[in-house]
Point group: C2
Chain length 382, copies 2
Amino acid sequence: MAQFAVNPSFISFAGGYPAADAFDFDGIRRASEKAWSQGAKDCLQYGATEGVAPLRAALKALGLARGIHAEDDQLMVTTGSQQALDFLLRATVAPGDTVLVERPTYPGALQAFRLAGARVVGIDGDAEGIDPQAVARAIEAAPSKPKMIYVVPTFANPTGATMSESRRRDLLALAAKHDILLVEDDPYGLLRFSGDAVAPIAAHAAKDAELRKVSVYLSTLSKVAVPALRIGWMVASSEVTRRCVMAKQVSDLCTSPWMQHIGAAYLDSPEFAAHVPRIIATYKERADAMVTALHQAFDKEWVFLVPDGGMFLWVKLPRGVDAGELLKAALAQKVVFVPGAACYASEPDAACLRMSYSTASPEVIREGVARLAHAYRSYCVG
Amino acid sequence: MAQFAVNPSFISFAGGYPAADAFDFDGIRRASEKAWSQGAKDCLQYGATEGVAPLRAALKALGLARGIHAEDDQLMVTTGSQQALDFLLRATVAPGDTVLVERPTYPGALQAFRLAGARVVGIDGDAEGIDPQAVARAIEAAPSKPKMIYVVPTFANPTGATMSESRRRDLLALAAKHDILLVEDDPYGLLRFSGDAVAPIAAHAAKDAELRKVSVYLSTLSKVAVPALRIGWMVASSEVTRRCVMAKQVSDLCTSPWMQHIGAAYLDSPEFAAHVPRIIATYKERADAMVTALHQAFDKEWVFLVPDGGMFLWVKLPRGVDAGELLKAALAQKVVFVPGAACYASEPDAACLRMSYSTASPEVIREGVARLAHAYRSYCVG
């Protein structure tokens, strides 16, 4: 069995799942018991489309701790943050409208843009995320004014990059100048294991009415608590929020009040406060293991940014390597990753791949990277 | 306090909520404990977009008991049945497309059709629901082939009417002949308290490939278990199901696996089997109380169908009475209902109203109807 633990039949670095072995089972169970004892009837009946009061209060407090202010009509609870993006698109983007995104970006967002019929324009990012000057040029070049700029500015999926403070300010000012929604998708912001904290874009928007009008903040409890709560939330202008609440009303009426009350009880508990540092420590250990193993296996042949937080690491392969082809060799070695092409709206870079270090132990990560090295050698000679 | 119980400050017959005082708190709690003990990790992680295996098995069994067959690729779990309708519209109806509905029909469906940009054509129903011959005429008269026929054939919201067996067969044959989706929304089908059972339309479709192609069945655990599980499901052709799963993938990824495992444990429990007859008995008692009180208060002046199940009673007021105006008088008496106009896509009949008997005790129902009689008298003299 010990052998099996470090040599599982199949190793996946492909998923975007949080670490189930790091779930706070006891804390969640206690929150569940507390929510039930405080009001089983409230847990089980329908609830307000905007979200139940205790969770809304807890999410406001969580936001405030990072400088994000939300009035009552500027916050809504959603069934995961993916749903907030979906409603936002329904409320603000018509088929043919332009959406600007970083190149590469989160595949789930690209899928949502495609389903909305949006024209997606990718703008190259670097180690500090998307460049506001490049965004300004893309706005000028667009056939009509873009409706939305979508970014994952902190520990980005897929690159792991974090946008600098000055770029955040510049990008927000640019969005406000052109009256374009700036959507900040922030599932990983609390999961920093090195480097200095950078305030969310929404915190920069807090002080100025013009900035607040275009700022949209999305987050989720999936990565800091558990995905199964299916709790996301959005902070936006009252007008955008109102339209998204209408979309939610016809889509799923409300997010499970039971899950919301459990989420509220968990956010208010000492267990949550103690759990976040534990996840961070877990991810740091795993990221370190992956970084070290990759350096040892590939020296400088594979280039990647060492992440400061989050769950992902983005590898630039030597020019000419096709990550899709490499995946076939990797599958033969029973290890998988996400070929980078899925993270591009168009003109994909085939010589990139995304690796997630969140779900595997350091031992499994080392074994997986060893298999990957084996696959890479067979790919190169093949 | 006893005084307060029969004389609450405000009495609502407006809601479409199930009775919280009839929730099976013990049964749900036991199901919750069972789901957790069987696999907390499975409860808390992301799950498959189509739904988790134990719930899918339990829903198939629930369907089979009423003659509904679903292959693996013909069933999907949704976050309430409203979400199934939403995805179905996204997958199959474009702006400008025609949708045929009964007149009157469920306001939440009308909202969804409006948001989808559909052209909604209402067809008058009677005590046996929508008339297939009138539907046939509407199909002929439509500028282009309608994409969908939407019905709540059993204990309809708002009318309480149940479509006869022969109309079900005829409507299904008609839909198949024209290759138009026939959407059967069935939240109340298990809640029959008098009269003979009628098989779901989807059961008639079970035996024939051509019929199955157009049949779409939607249901929910909200009315037979609790709304907060947010569990609905859809049985449709594999092609329609596939497209709806894609829509769900970009909208909320998955319905809470935790809630799904609790729902599965509850459906499989003796508590669920014992609970459904209890809700039915509760609703029968309340429906009887409302029917008796209305007869006593309004004799034959208010006309309504005596319901055989479900939660609603639909009143036709004397010609010329405006239910919206009557509502103002009712509000002054601290009692509310839903004016019927909300249940029409166009050309609303102002002399109708919907009353729900699900949430109030017989004593409160009698008090509420007495207030309504008072309001009606003041409306008539005013």
